[in-house]
Amino acid sequence: MRKDGILYTVVFSFIITFLFVFLLALANEGTSGIVQRNQELARQKAILSAMAIPFRTDEEVNTLYKAIEILDKEGVRFYKSTQGGKTIYAKEFSGSGLWGTITGILSVDEQVSQIVGIQIVSHNETPGLGGRVADPWFKDQFRGLKVKNGRIHVTFGAEAGSGKANKEEGIADGITGASRTSQAMDTILNGELTVFKKILGGSR
Protein backbone atom coordinates (compact mmCIF):
# COMPACT_ATOMS: atom_id res chain seq x y z
CA MET A 1 0.00 0.00 0.00
CA ARG A 2 1.33 3.44 -0.90
CA LYS A 3 2.05 5.52 2.19
CA ASP A 4 0.66 8.67 0.67
CA GLY A 5 -2.33 6.97 -0.90
CA ILE A 6 -5.79 7.88 0.25
CA LEU A 7 -6.64 4.42 1.59
CA TYR A 8 -3.52 4.17 3.73
CA THR A 9 -4.06 7.71 5.06
CA VAL A 10 -7.66 7.03 6.02
CA VAL A 11 -6.94 3.65 7.61
CA PHE A 12 -3.90 5.01 9.45
CA SER A 13 -5.82 8.03 10.79
CA PHE A 14 -8.67 5.82 11.89
CA ILE A 15 -6.49 3.31 13.72
CA ILE A 16 -4.32 5.92 15.39
CA THR A 17 -7.30 7.98 16.55
CA PHE A 18 -9.09 4.89 17.79
CA LEU A 19 -6.03 3.70 19.67
CA PHE A 20 -5.31 6.96 21.49
CA VAL A 21 -8.93 7.71 22.29
CA PHE A 22 -9.33 4.16 23.58
CA LEU A 23 -6.34 4.59 25.89
CA LEU A 24 -7.77 7.88 27.16
CA ALA A 25 -11.15 6.29 27.78
CA LEU A 26 -9.39 3.55 29.77
CA ALA A 27 -7.47 6.08 31.85
CA ASN A 28 -10.65 8.04 32.45
CA GLU A 29 -12.59 4.93 33.46
CA GLY A 30 -9.77 3.75 35.67
CA THR A 31 -9.62 6.97 37.64
CA SER A 32 -13.31 7.95 37.63
CA GLY A 33 -13.89 6.24 40.98
CA ILE A 34 -11.03 8.16 42.59
CA VAL A 35 -12.13 11.42 40.97
CA GLN A 36 -15.68 10.95 42.19
CA ARG A 37 -14.53 10.15 45.72
CA ASN A 38 -12.28 13.21 45.63
CA GLN A 39 -15.20 15.38 44.57
CA GLU A 40 -17.53 14.04 47.25
CA LEU A 41 -14.84 14.43 49.89
CA ALA A 42 -14.11 17.96 48.68
CA ARG A 43 -17.82 18.80 48.93
CA GLN A 44 -18.09 17.45 52.48
CA LYS A 45 -14.91 19.23 53.50
CA ALA A 46 -16.24 22.45 52.01
CA ILE A 47 -19.48 22.19 53.99
CA LEU A 48 -17.59 21.48 57.22
CA SER A 49 -15.10 24.29 56.76
CA ALA A 50 -17.81 26.75 55.75
CA MET A 51 -19.61 25.88 59.00
CA ALA A 52 -16.32 26.33 60.90
CA ILE A 53 -16.29 22.71 62.05
CA PRO A 54 -12.64 21.70 62.43
CA PHE A 55 -11.44 18.34 61.05
CA ARG A 56 -8.09 16.69 60.57
CA THR A 57 -8.32 13.37 58.75
CA ASP A 58 -10.56 12.17 55.95
CA GLU A 59 -12.25 9.69 58.30
CA GLU A 60 -13.10 12.51 60.64
CA VAL A 61 -14.72 14.37 57.75
CA ASN A 62 -17.00 11.42 57.18
CA THR A 63 -18.14 11.16 60.81
CA LEU A 64 -18.60 14.89 61.23
CA TYR A 65 -20.50 15.18 57.98
CA LYS A 66 -22.94 12.48 59.08
CA ALA A 67 -23.77 14.56 62.17
CA ILE A 68 -25.03 17.41 60.00
CA GLU A 69 -28.78 17.62 59.59
CA ILE A 70 -30.13 18.08 56.08
CA LEU A 71 -33.30 20.14 55.70
CA ASP A 72 -35.33 20.61 52.55
CA LYS A 73 -37.36 23.77 52.84
CA GLU A 74 -39.35 25.25 49.96
CA GLY A 75 -37.30 23.24 47.53
CA VAL A 76 -33.99 24.53 48.91
CA ARG A 77 -31.53 22.27 50.68
CA PHE A 78 -30.00 23.56 53.89
CA TYR A 79 -27.41 22.00 56.15
CA LYS A 80 -28.00 22.52 59.84
CA SER A 81 -25.54 22.04 62.64
CA THR A 82 -25.73 22.88 66.32
CA GLN A 83 -22.52 23.46 68.22
CA GLY A 84 -22.30 24.80 71.74
CA GLY A 85 -25.96 25.81 71.77
CA LYS A 86 -25.61 27.79 68.55
CA THR A 87 -27.40 26.77 65.40
CA ILE A 88 -25.80 27.51 62.07
CA TYR A 89 -27.03 26.91 58.57
CA ALA A 90 -25.23 26.33 55.33
CA LYS A 91 -26.32 26.17 51.73
CA GLU A 92 -24.69 25.35 48.45
CA PHE A 93 -24.54 28.25 46.05
CA SER A 94 -23.72 28.69 42.41
CA GLY A 95 -23.59 31.71 40.18
CA SER A 96 -21.74 33.07 37.18
CA GLY A 97 -18.22 34.29 37.58
CA LEU A 98 -16.14 35.75 34.79
CA TRP A 99 -15.52 32.56 32.77
CA GLY A 100 -17.92 30.05 34.22
CA THR A 101 -19.98 29.01 37.18
CA ILE A 102 -18.64 29.49 40.68
CA THR A 103 -20.05 26.96 43.13
CA GLY A 104 -19.48 26.84 46.84
CA ILE A 105 -20.94 26.79 50.33
CA LEU A 106 -22.18 29.74 52.33
CA SER A 107 -22.81 29.35 56.04
CA VAL A 108 -24.64 31.83 58.29
CA ASP A 109 -25.82 32.00 61.89
CA GLU A 110 -29.42 31.44 62.90
CA GLN A 111 -30.46 35.08 62.66
CA VAL A 112 -28.67 35.58 59.33
CA SER A 113 -26.86 38.42 61.06
CA GLN A 114 -23.36 37.12 60.48
CA ILE A 115 -21.59 34.91 57.96
CA VAL A 116 -19.96 31.87 59.53
CA GLY A 117 -17.84 31.13 56.51
CA ILE A 118 -17.67 30.47 52.79
CA GLN A 119 -15.96 27.79 50.76
CA ILE A 120 -15.47 27.52 47.03
CA VAL A 121 -16.13 24.06 45.57
CA SER A 122 -15.47 24.76 41.92
CA HIS A 123 -14.73 27.67 39.64
CA ASN A 124 -13.17 28.41 36.27
CA GLU A 125 -11.77 31.83 37.08
CA THR A 126 -8.38 32.93 35.75
CA PRO A 127 -5.62 31.18 37.72
CA GLY A 128 -3.64 33.69 39.75
CA LEU A 129 -6.31 36.38 39.38
CA GLY A 130 -9.99 35.49 39.85
CA GLY A 131 -8.83 31.99 40.77
CA ARG A 132 -7.78 33.45 44.10
CA VAL A 133 -11.42 33.32 45.28
CA ALA A 134 -10.47 29.86 46.50
CA ASP A 135 -7.43 31.16 48.42
CA PRO A 136 -7.61 31.14 52.23
CA TRP A 137 -6.94 34.90 52.59
CA PHE A 138 -10.04 35.68 50.52
CA LYS A 139 -12.35 33.13 52.14
CA ASP A 140 -11.18 33.90 55.68
CA GLN A 141 -12.39 37.47 55.32
CA PHE A 142 -15.93 36.12 55.53
CA ARG A 143 -15.47 34.42 58.91
CA GLY A 144 -17.68 36.42 61.27
CA LEU A 145 -18.47 39.07 58.68
CA LYS A 146 -21.52 41.01 59.88
CA VAL A 147 -24.54 41.17 57.60
CA LYS A 148 -25.73 44.79 57.50
CA ASN A 149 -29.35 45.39 56.45
CA GLY A 150 -29.42 41.95 54.93
CA ARG A 151 -26.37 42.58 52.78
CA ILE A 152 -22.62 42.33 52.71
CA HIS A 153 -20.28 44.04 50.29
CA VAL A 154 -17.27 42.73 48.37
CA THR A 155 -15.19 45.63 47.09
CA PHE A 156 -14.01 45.73 43.51
CA GLY A 157 -12.22 48.10 41.16
CA ALA A 158 -10.31 50.98 42.72
CA GLU A 159 -11.73 50.39 46.22
CA ALA A 160 -10.22 46.91 46.46
CA GLY A 161 -6.66 46.10 47.49
CA SER A 162 -6.38 46.60 51.24
CA GLY A 163 -6.36 42.83 51.73
CA LYS A 164 -8.39 43.14 54.91
CA ALA A 165 -12.08 42.89 55.66
CA ASN A 166 -14.02 45.41 57.69
CA LYS A 167 -15.97 42.77 59.59
CA GLU A 168 -18.15 45.13 61.63
CA GLU A 169 -19.35 46.95 58.53
CA GLY A 170 -19.78 43.77 56.49
CA ILE A 171 -17.23 44.74 53.88
CA ALA A 172 -14.83 42.17 52.42
CA ASP A 173 -11.90 43.17 50.25
CA GLY A 174 -12.11 42.10 46.62
CA ILE A 175 -9.33 40.57 44.55
CA THR A 176 -6.78 42.87 42.97
CA GLY A 177 -6.83 42.49 39.21
CA ALA A 178 -10.07 40.52 39.25
CA SER A 179 -12.86 43.07 39.52
CA ARG A 180 -15.39 41.01 37.59
CA THR A 181 -14.86 37.97 39.83
CA SER A 182 -15.08 40.11 42.99
CA GLN A 183 -18.25 41.70 41.68
CA ALA A 184 -19.68 38.27 40.88
CA MET A 185 -18.99 37.12 44.45
CA ASP A 186 -20.75 40.23 45.75
CA THR A 187 -23.83 39.47 43.64
CA ILE A 188 -23.86 35.72 44.37
CA LEU A 189 -23.43 36.04 48.14
CA ASN A 190 -26.01 38.79 48.50
CA GLY A 191 -28.46 36.74 46.46
CA GLU A 192 -27.88 33.78 48.78
CA LEU A 193 -28.31 35.93 51.89
CA THR A 194 -31.72 36.99 50.56
CA VAL A 195 -32.70 33.31 50.19
CA PHE A 196 -31.49 32.52 53.73
CA LYS A 197 -33.40 35.49 55.13
CA LYS A 198 -36.56 34.69 53.21
CA ILE A 199 -36.77 30.99 54.09
CA LEU A 200 -35.06 30.73 57.46
CA GLY A 201 -35.51 34.25 58.78
CA GLY A 202 -39.30 34.15 58.44
CA SER A 203 -39.88 30.81 60.13
CA ARG A 204 -39.22 31.96 63.70
Binding site: F12, T31, G161
Partner: protein, 201 residues
Protein backbone atom coordinates in the same frame (compact mmCIF):
# COMPACT_ATOMS: atom_id res chain seq x y z
CA UNK B 1 23.71 10.16 18.20
CA UNK B 2 26.46 10.58 20.76
CA UNK B 3 26.58 12.16 24.19
CA UNK B 4 28.10 15.20 22.50
CA UNK B 5 25.06 15.60 20.28
CA UNK B 6 22.75 15.33 23.26
CA UNK B 7 24.77 17.97 25.05
CA UNK B 8 24.50 20.21 22.03
CA UNK B 9 20.72 19.77 21.98
CA UNK B 10 20.42 20.77 25.61
CA UNK B 11 22.70 23.79 25.17
CA UNK B 12 20.56 24.90 22.24
CA UNK B 13 17.27 24.44 24.05
CA UNK B 14 18.32 25.89 27.36
CA UNK B 15 20.08 28.95 26.02
CA UNK B 16 21.17 29.50 22.40
CA UNK B 17 17.87 28.51 20.87
CA UNK B 18 15.68 28.92 23.93
CA UNK B 19 11.97 28.55 23.07
CA UNK B 20 11.14 31.92 24.68
CA UNK B 21 14.25 33.97 23.91
CA UNK B 22 14.94 32.95 20.32
CA UNK B 23 12.00 31.00 18.97
CA UNK B 24 9.51 33.32 20.74
CA UNK B 25 7.16 30.37 21.23
CA UNK B 26 4.77 29.74 24.10
CA UNK B 27 4.43 33.44 24.82
CA UNK B 28 0.69 33.23 25.54
CA UNK B 29 1.19 31.05 28.61
CA UNK B 30 4.19 33.14 29.62
CA UNK B 31 1.83 36.08 29.97
CA UNK B 32 -0.99 34.14 31.56
CA UNK B 33 0.35 31.84 34.26
CA UNK B 34 3.43 33.56 35.58
CA UNK B 35 2.04 35.54 38.49
CA UNK B 36 2.35 32.69 40.98
CA UNK B 37 5.37 30.39 41.21
CA UNK B 38 3.41 27.27 42.19
CA UNK B 39 1.04 27.48 39.21
CA UNK B 40 3.97 28.23 36.90
CA UNK B 41 5.92 25.23 38.14
CA UNK B 42 3.06 22.76 37.70
CA UNK B 43 2.13 24.18 34.32
CA UNK B 44 5.70 24.06 33.00
CA UNK B 45 6.15 20.54 34.40
CA UNK B 46 3.07 19.59 32.39
CA UNK B 47 4.53 21.17 29.27
CA UNK B 48 7.88 19.44 29.81
CA UNK B 49 6.26 16.04 30.32
CA UNK B 50 4.05 16.47 27.26
CA UNK B 51 6.87 17.78 25.07
CA UNK B 52 9.17 14.89 26.00
CA UNK B 53 6.64 12.11 25.52
CA UNK B 54 4.89 13.50 22.46
CA UNK B 55 8.30 13.92 20.82
CA UNK B 56 9.21 10.35 21.76
CA UNK B 57 5.96 8.95 20.40
CA UNK B 58 6.11 10.95 17.19
CA UNK B 59 9.72 9.95 16.59
CA UNK B 60 8.75 6.29 17.05
CA UNK B 61 5.88 6.52 14.60
CA UNK B 62 7.28 8.97 12.08
CA UNK B 63 7.92 6.37 9.38
CA UNK B 64 4.30 5.27 9.35
CA UNK B 65 2.72 8.70 9.41
CA UNK B 66 1.51 9.82 5.95
CA UNK B 67 2.79 13.33 5.16
CA UNK B 68 -0.67 14.71 4.49
CA UNK B 69 -2.02 14.02 7.95
CA UNK B 70 1.26 14.50 9.78
CA UNK B 71 0.26 17.60 11.70
CA UNK B 72 -3.14 16.23 12.64
CA UNK B 73 -1.46 13.14 14.06
CA UNK B 74 1.00 15.33 15.97
CA UNK B 75 -1.83 17.31 17.52
CA UNK B 76 -3.61 14.06 18.38
CA UNK B 77 -0.56 12.71 20.18
CA UNK B 78 0.04 16.00 22.01
CA UNK B 79 -3.59 16.19 23.14
CA UNK B 80 -3.41 12.59 24.29
CA UNK B 81 -0.57 13.38 26.71
CA UNK B 82 -2.17 16.63 27.86
CA UNK B 83 -5.43 14.86 28.69
CA UNK B 84 -3.45 12.17 30.51
CA UNK B 85 -1.81 14.91 32.61
CA UNK B 86 -5.24 16.39 33.29
CA UNK B 87 -6.70 13.02 34.33
CA UNK B 88 -3.74 12.24 36.61
CA UNK B 89 -3.92 15.66 38.27
CA UNK B 90 -7.65 15.34 38.83
CA UNK B 91 -7.30 11.89 40.36
CA UNK B 92 -4.15 12.30 42.46
CA UNK B 93 -3.58 16.03 42.98
CA UNK B 94 -7.12 17.47 43.04
CA UNK B 95 -6.03 20.67 44.81
CA UNK B 96 -3.52 21.59 42.12
CA UNK B 97 -5.90 20.57 39.37
CA UNK B 98 -8.40 22.99 40.89
CA UNK B 99 -6.02 25.89 41.10
CA UNK B 100 -4.81 25.45 37.52
CA UNK B 101 -8.32 25.18 36.16
CA UNK B 102 -8.47 25.53 32.38
CA UNK B 103 -4.73 25.99 31.88
CA UNK B 104 -3.90 22.29 31.79
CA UNK B 105 -6.10 21.77 28.76
CA UNK B 106 -4.51 24.81 27.16
CA UNK B 107 -1.09 23.11 27.15
CA UNK B 108 -2.33 21.58 23.87
CA UNK B 109 -2.14 24.98 22.22
CA UNK B 110 1.40 25.65 23.47
CA UNK B 111 3.36 26.34 20.31
CA UNK B 112 6.55 24.76 21.68
CA UNK B 113 4.98 21.29 21.51
CA UNK B 114 3.99 21.59 17.86
CA UNK B 115 7.25 23.36 17.09
CA UNK B 116 9.43 20.59 18.51
CA UNK B 117 7.29 17.83 17.01
CA UNK B 118 7.53 19.34 13.55
CA UNK B 119 11.10 20.64 13.73
CA UNK B 120 12.79 17.78 15.59
CA UNK B 121 10.78 14.64 16.33
CA UNK B 122 9.58 14.30 12.74
CA UNK B 123 13.15 13.81 11.50
CA UNK B 124 15.13 12.31 14.40
CA UNK B 125 15.35 9.00 16.29
CA UNK B 126 13.26 8.52 19.48
CA UNK B 127 15.92 9.02 22.19
CA UNK B 128 17.28 12.36 20.94
CA UNK B 129 13.68 13.46 20.26
CA UNK B 130 12.74 12.66 23.85
CA UNK B 131 15.79 14.57 25.07
CA UNK B 132 14.95 17.48 22.81
CA UNK B 133 11.39 17.68 24.14
CA UNK B 134 12.59 17.41 27.72
CA UNK B 135 15.23 20.13 27.40
CA UNK B 136 12.90 22.40 25.43
CA UNK B 137 10.43 22.09 28.29
CA UNK B 138 13.14 22.88 30.82
CA UNK B 139 14.33 25.83 28.71
CA UNK B 140 10.77 27.12 28.82
CA UNK B 141 10.44 26.33 32.52
CA UNK B 142 13.45 28.26 33.78
CA UNK B 143 12.53 31.42 31.89
CA UNK B 144 8.95 31.27 33.15
CA UNK B 145 10.08 30.58 36.70
CA UNK B 146 12.38 33.62 36.54
CA UNK B 147 9.49 35.80 35.39
CA UNK B 148 7.13 34.31 37.98
CA UNK B 149 9.71 34.93 40.70
CA UNK B 150 9.77 38.66 39.94
CA UNK B 151 6.01 38.91 39.45
CA UNK B 152 4.98 37.01 42.57
CA UNK B 153 7.56 38.80 44.72
CA UNK B 154 6.69 42.31 43.58
CA UNK B 155 2.98 41.65 43.05
CA UNK B 156 2.08 39.74 46.20
CA UNK B 157 5.20 39.95 48.36
CA UNK B 158 5.28 36.15 48.50
CA UNK B 159 7.30 33.28 47.00
CA UNK B 160 5.51 29.95 46.46
CA UNK B 161 2.77 31.49 48.60
CA UNK B 162 5.01 32.17 51.61
CA UNK B 163 5.15 35.80 52.62
CA UNK B 164 8.74 37.03 52.32
CA UNK B 165 8.40 40.79 51.88
CA UNK B 166 8.24 43.04 54.95
CA UNK B 167 4.83 44.39 55.88
CA UNK B 168 5.59 47.92 54.65
CA UNK B 169 6.41 46.62 51.17
CA UNK B 170 3.95 48.06 48.64
CA UNK B 171 2.43 45.40 46.38
CA UNK B 172 2.72 46.28 42.71
CA UNK B 173 -0.74 45.60 41.34
CA UNK B 174 0.58 45.79 37.77
CA UNK B 175 2.80 42.76 38.43
CA UNK B 176 -0.27 40.63 39.14
CA UNK B 177 -1.86 41.50 35.83
CA UNK B 178 -0.89 40.16 32.40
CA UNK B 179 0.67 43.41 31.03
CA UNK B 180 3.62 43.20 33.42
CA UNK B 181 4.68 39.94 31.79
CA UNK B 182 5.06 41.84 28.51
CA UNK B 183 7.58 44.18 30.11
CA UNK B 184 9.41 41.41 31.90
CA UNK B 185 9.60 39.14 28.84
CA UNK B 186 10.89 42.04 26.77
CA UNK B 187 13.51 42.99 29.37
CA UNK B 188 14.64 39.36 29.68
CA UNK B 189 14.80 38.98 25.89
CA UNK B 190 16.92 42.09 25.68
CA UNK B 191 19.33 40.91 28.36
CA UNK B 192 19.56 37.40 26.92
CA UNK B 193 20.14 38.61 23.35
CA UNK B 194 22.74 41.02 24.55
CA UNK B 195 24.62 38.28 26.37
CA UNK B 196 24.43 35.93 23.40
CA UNK B 197 25.73 38.44 20.89
CA UNK B 198 28.14 40.10 23.27
CA UNK B 199 26.47 43.49 22.87
CA UNK B 200 26.69 43.48 19.06
CA UNK B 201 23.29 43.81 17.40
Amino acid sequence: MTAKDLKKISRENLWFNNPIFIQILGICSTLAVTNLLTNTLIMTLGVTFTAAFSNLTIAFMKDWIPRKVRMIVQVLIISFYVIIVDILLRAFLPEISKSLGPYVGLIITNCILMGRAEAFAQSNPPIPAFWDGLTSGIGYMWVLMAIAFVREFLGFGTLFGFPVAPAWFPQWTIMVMAPSAFFLVAILLWIAKNRMTGGKA
